[in-house]
């Protein structure tokens, strides 16, 4: 006698409506899946929108979301007819988990789960040549991260920046560091929160993810280059800070537009360096490391 569990499936397969439902699920257009996934995450979008509108975080996350959108658009003609089941199941489980965790965990963690599930949903339909790590990276960067990064990583970054600047400036000036402040030739110059370089960190990793996707980096190749990104950002922020402090200490402080110009030039150099580091060797797409 057959076990009831095994005898149910043939009986179901004889049901035409069930079979039609299965076919409909299997052949559903990819945009439907993605749209349903996006709709299921509406509390996350609502929260992210509020964070952006009320000014509690910078709107940089929109840039990462736009990059994900552009990625899907770029591959729109090569999207998989049938999704990769592993990614698809993980994405749906992530969406369910996001809903279950809503109001149970901090909103940022819930949104992290939600955006990772969205990224997995995208990866389920994207061609296998698209590496997963940069896509997941962009989904993490979509979060309203900057304020939290500033809170947790801001002070260590400021101290490291101030100490490196002290070391560089000591060639020509008498410099002391106290916490994240510098006393240069008796003049107090603070390395406060807006000087921490957190914004440059975000833009640096964003550049890295985008360039990695454009040049077709593999996961391994992308991850191995990430330390270079961190180093370039840190060096860039130290350089920016040192130049500005040097002008201040020399008795010819730069006007506000001069601060902006120095910051933008250094940022451009850092982004160019990161782009070069990510694209320096011709990519050789591999199917084994996705």
């Amino acid at each position: 006698m057959d076990h009831p569990r095994f005898s149910t499936l043939p009986r179901l397969l004889q049901n035409q409506q069930f079979v039609r439902f299965g076919i409909a699920i299997d052949t559903a257009a990819e945009w439907r899946w993605l749209a349903l996934l996006a709709v299921a995450l509406w509390p996350t979008w609502w929260w992210m929108g509020q964070r952006m509108v009320d000014g509690s975080d910078d709107p940089l996350g929109v840039l990462a979301l736009a990059a994900l959108g552009a990625l899907v658009w770029q591959h729109r003609l090569r999207l998989r007819a049938a999704p990769r089941l592993g990614f698809q199941v993980a994405a749906l489980a992530g969406a369910v988990l996001t809903t279950a965790l809503h109001a149970q965990l901090p909103d940022l963690l819930v949104a992290l789960v939600g955006l990772l599930s969205l990224a997995l949903g995208l990866l389920a339909f994207l061609p296998a040549q698209v590496a997963t790590a940069p896509v997941l990276g962009l989904s993490v960067l979509s979060l309203p991260l900057l304020a939290s990064l500033q809170f947790y990583a801001g002070f260590p970054l400021r101290v490291v920046t101030a100490e490196a600047s002290r070391w560089l400036l000591s060639v020509a000036h008498t410099v002391e560091r106290s916490g994240s402040s510098l006393v240069v030739d008796g003049q107090l110059i603070i390395v406060d929160a807006p000087c921490s370089g957190v914004q440059m960190v975000w833009l640096g990793y964003f550049t890295a993810c985008v360039v990695a996707l454009v040049v077709g980096r593999t996961n391994r190749s992308f991850l191995l280059r990430l330390p270079v990104v961190s180093a370039l950002v840190l060096v860039g922020n130290v350089l920016r800070n040192t130049v500005l402090v040097a002008f201040q200490a020399s008795g010819a402080p730069l006007p506000a537009w001069g601060h902006e110009a120095v910051g933008l030039v250094v940022l451009a150099l850092v982004c160019a360096g990161i782009a070069w580091a990510m694209a320096v060797t011709p990519s050789t797409p591999s199917h084994t490391t996705r």
């Binding site: 840039l63 110059i189 603070i190 807006p194 000087c195 914004q199 833009l203 933008l264 782009a275």
Partner: protein
């Protein structure tokens, strides 16, 4: 010393126990009564010359203008309760103190005053004249004591940073496109 009241129903007498009376000092007692104001206050004690007694008749005409006494009684009561609360070391008397403060409009450790000025004196602040008021610092005090602005090295504005990053990425894309075209045509 002891205070005895005859012919009058008194309650909430403060202080509950009279302290020793020193020379040239008054005896101050607060309390409430019910019914008609009549009777006698009798103060008894022992002096250096032996037992003494002093009596004071109460009549309806005694102290007609005594509105302030209500607040004096409440203040004394609050002080006693506060002392007791400090002695016990918890806030077990906070409710009683708060009720007295609210009922008699008195400042206590649990009640405070909120003054709301209903009259707007300066109807157009923006039209006010600005005046540079000299404020010389004491000798030896530097300008930094005033919290003057300290220079810092902030990052560039977000929108400018986004524009620069996107420009770098656009340049990269352009270079790649040119390189690909060159590769195809060569």
């Amino acid at each position: 010393m002891k205070l005895r009241v005859e012919g009058l129903d008194v309650y909430d007498v403060e202080p509950r126990n009279l302290p020793d009376l020193l020379a040239q000092r008054p005896v101050i007692v607060f309390g409430k009564w019910r019914g008609e104001a009549k009777g006698k206050l009798i103060l008894e004690g022992n002096s250096a010359d032996g037992p003494m007694q002093q009596a004071m008749e109460i009549s309806a005409n005694t102290g007609a203008d005594t509105a302030a006494l209500r607040h004096l009684w409440a203040r004394h009561r609050i002080a006693s309760l506060s002392d007791q609360e400090s002695l016990v070391g918890n806030d077990s008397y906070s409710k009683a103190i708060t009720e007295l403060g609210l009922k008699y409009s008195l400042l206590t450790q649990y009640t405070s005053f909120l003054a709301v000025d209903q009259v707007v004196r300066n109807l157009a602040p923006q039209d006010s004249a600005s005046v540079n008021q000299p404020s010389p610092l004491p000798q030896g005090v530097e300008n930094t004591a005033l919290g003057a602005e300290v220079p810092s090295t902030p990052e560039p504005a977000t929108w400018g940073a986004i524009a620069v990053t996107l420009s770098v990425l656009a340049m990269l894309a352009t270079r790649r496109r040119r390189a690909r075209n060159h590769h195809l045509t060569s």
